[in-house]
């Protein structure tokens, strides 16, 4: 059985690092999907950098740094060791080229465009809560009719989870 390659945006990695995003039932639903062995969850190293910035901000505002950093290291090891997760290297000219195309369309967030470009190259679906990012990828397809990418599904977590039922 072939596995569906699902690129997950930063938000969905956060629970592994001890951070609770504002998405109802994310932890329980993720646990359930992990038991199904139908998906590979791709993620970008830029998401890890975004999480690190949050950890640094929290420590700066008085949260327990030892606990946050311990959890951060545990999550890095767990992600690396688990075959159901796959890191998509962004030090890659193909990923940079598409990221640049997306920025030229007006999406100024470099990290977002790296996540989108990684998903276009390596995944069947992109899961994100970021609507502007979704729109810019649609615009990319509209303006590049002969693009060598297949259209990928771009879903919010809620839409994605429903689609797996």
């Amino acid at each position: 059985m072939s596995l569906t390659r699902v690129h997950i945006d930063t938000t969905y990695l956060m629970p592994l690092f001890g951070l609770e995003p504002s998405i109802a039932h994310l932890r329980e639903q993720f646990l359930e999907l992990l038991t199904q062995d139908r998906f590979v969850f791709n993620y970008s190293p830029v998401s890890i950098i975004e999480i690190k910035w949050q950890v640094m901000r929290l420590i700066g505002s008085g949260y327990n740094g030892d606990l946050l950093e311990q959890k951060f290291s545990q999550a890095l090891t767990s992600l690396k060791e688990d075959d159901r997760y796959n890191i998509v290297d962004f030090l890659d000219a193909r990923i940079n080229d598409v990221s640049y195309e997306l920025r030229k369309l007006g999406h100024s967030d470099y990290f977002d465009t790296i996540i989108a470009s990684s998903a276009l190259w390596e995944s069947d679906k992109l899961i994100t809560e970021d609507n502007p990012l979704k729109l810019i990828i649609q615009e990319y397809f509209d303006k590049n009719k002969d693009s060598h990418f297949e259209k990928i599904e771009i879903l919010t977590w809620e839409e994605y989870y429903k689609s797996t039922e």
Binding site: P15, L19, Q54, L58, Y63, K71, S78
Partner: protein, 84 residues
């Protein structure tokens, strides 16, 4: 706290941590472990926490998707402004 125990290498190269060590590290059948050789030649054995264990452990802080987005954009802007 230093925990020291001694053992032997098995005939096929297996390493069996003694019970006290297993208990101290929380090693149970099928636990995943990571072996690392340090630059000074020490063997480091660590239990790898599963993704499932991380997902059921209590969160340390709440962070919304908007906060992630906002801080990331502001950090990137900072980088861009360095060149102004």
């Amino acid at each position: 706290m230093v925990s020291e125990e001694f053992g032997k290498v098995g005939s096929k190269g297996e390493l069996y941590p003694p019970r006290k060590i297993r208990e101290a590290l929380g090693l149970y059948p099928n636990s995943r472990i990571r072996y690392t050789i340090s630059p000074k030649g020490y063997l480091i054995v660590e239990r790898v926490i599963s993704v499932e264990d991380l997902l059921v452990s209590p969160p340390l802080a709440k962070v919304s998707t908007e906060e992630i987005e906002k801080l990331s954009e502001s950090m990137q802007k900072k980088g861009e402004n360095e060149f102004d």
